[in-house]
């Protein structure tokens, strides 16, 4: 019976999902929290502008996991809808941030964020 495989079953079921226990939800929330913290640490420690923005994308991903997991837990599709908007904002943010990075690189020929510490004021 191929449908006894849980992943295939999830893929094949198009109907309304069954409710989820909050202990299962806790697993997803912990994964999301750890991924968010990794993104945060990366943003604080790395000095390459591009990697810093890559780390913000990592934090967006973590938020998306939490949204979808909560939406699944409450059987409410607004969680997934919100992830679509998170994706939109992430795309807009990537476009703007990378344009800025290209601009900054042209000024100083380096991607080092600490080259711009005079902006600190």
């Amino acid at each position: 019976m191929i449908l006894s495989n849980p992943l295939l079953h999830t893929l094949a079921q198009s109907g309304f999902p069954q409710p989820m226990h909050s202990a299962t939800l806790a697993h997803y929330l912990v994964v999301s929290a750890v991924m968010f913290i990794l993104g945060l640490i990366g943003f604080l420690t790395r000095r390459n502008l591009i990697i810093m923005f890559l780390c913000t994308e990592l934090m967006f991903q973590a938020a998306g996991i939490a949204f979808v997991a909560f939406g699944r837990f409450h059987l409410d599709f607004s969680g997934q809808t919100f992830v679509i908007f998170v994706l939109t904002v992430a795309a807009a943010e990537a476009a703007m941030a990378l344009a800025l990075v290209v601009l900054l690189f042209r000024r100083k020929e380096t991607l080092d964020a600490s080259e711009w510490k005079d902006l600190r004021g």
Binding site: I50, L75, E93
Partner: protein, 327 residues
């Protein structure tokens, strides 16, 4: 109502022993701190292994208190891949590899979305993130890196080789993680679950889908169509959700719905997006338009033409005009 949904607040000690959680946070901070790139002798491999082992232990301890409510086995596969690749994103000294590891994180995350039966979001994530955003990142990495000269071997830039304040950042990060996981299970108690979407109502809002399914099943007589509600345009499905009203040439009657006809994840998501949040889509469109304009304005290259070049250019134009005038 299943236990644990809504009514009863869930507490941290029902999920994991708090002292174990805090110990794991401290060790995890040490592992991540060691794994960050630094100059000289680097314990990166050891730090990465430590952080990975801590992550595995955390998963193990999470499952101990509620062994009957474990997520399925693929959750562990995908989350280990996602978190391992995320660790590699922040620790790999070369930006290109960091971006490629991020693609791995995205793919594993979309696997997690599949388990959460969010098929549409899983595929959208792969297309938008791995397909579009990451390619943009790779382009910018290639644009903004000096190519190594002829004689020099490719060497890491100074700012990539060493992390800034690894100890402080790890401590702050994992302190935040400890607080976050503690507070996560102390949210407001007595949440009432939101009104769930009904499968029957969602299906009734799609008369054409029902009609197509009936035609495929061969149970719809020729020349007949689904009877729709005059005001809402919904199909009329019986209370038990088994039959639907159809107008045939002979008159109106009920026909059994085919087996397995249920709204898909994309159907639910589409109704939620278009019916419940129509204004947000417009705003998202405006945000994207502004981002596009902003990116064009920001990265427009100002071509530098020196004075001599300008004058020669002007002279050439003038000559061209003369020639054009005399001809």
């Amino acid at each position: 109502m299943p236990s644990g949904v809504g009514s009863a607040g869930f507490h941290l000690d029902q999920i994991i022993n708090p002292s174990i959680l805090y110990l794991l946070c401290v060790l995890g901070a040490a592992g991540v701190c060691l794994a960050l790139p630094r100059k000289g002798v680097s314990p990166q491999v050891f730090g990465g292994l430590l952080a990975g082992a801590i992550g595995g232990l955390a998963m193990l301890f999470l499952g101990l208190k509620n062994p009957e409510h474990l997520p399925n086995i693929y959750f562990y596969v995908f989350s280990v891949v996602a978190l391992g690749a995320a660790l590699r994103v922040i620790t790999h000294p070369r930006p290109v590899y960091a971006a490629l590891y991020f693609v791995l994180t995205v793919v594993a995350t979309s696997g997690l979305f599949l388990i959460l039966s969010a098929e549409f979001m899983a595929f959208a994530l792969v297309i938008v993130y791995a397909g579009a955003i990451l390619i943009t990142y790779l382009f910018v990495i290639m644009l903004a890196t000096q190519s190594p000269g002829e004689e020099q071997v490719e060497v890491l830039a100074d700012y990539d080789a060493a992390a800034r304040e690894p100890i402080g950042a790890s401590v702050v990060g994992f302190l935040l993680l400890a607080i976050l996981t503690t507070m996560m299970f102390r949210g407001p108690t007595g949440w009432s679950p939101p009104p769930s979407v009904s499968e029957r109502d969602t299906l009734a809002a799609m008369p054409r889908k029902i009609e197509a399914a009936l035609r495929n099943a061969g149970t719809l007589p020729g020349g007949s169509r689904i009877r729709t509600h005059d005001e809402t345009g919904h199909a009329m499905i019986s209370e038990d959700g088994l039959t639907v009203r159809v107008i045939t040439p002979d008159g109106e009657r009920s026909i059994a719905l085919p087996d397995g006809l249920t709204p898909t994840n994309a159907d639910y998501l589409g109704f939620n997006l278009m019916r419940d949040h129509p204004g947000s889509i417009e705003i998202a469109g405006i945000i994207l338009l502004m981002a596009m304009l902003g990116a064009v304005v920001l990265s427009r290259k100002q071509v530098q033409i020196d004075e001599e070049e300008k004058m020669r250019h002007a002279a050439r134009l003038a000559r061209g005009e003369e020639a054009g005038g005399s001809a």
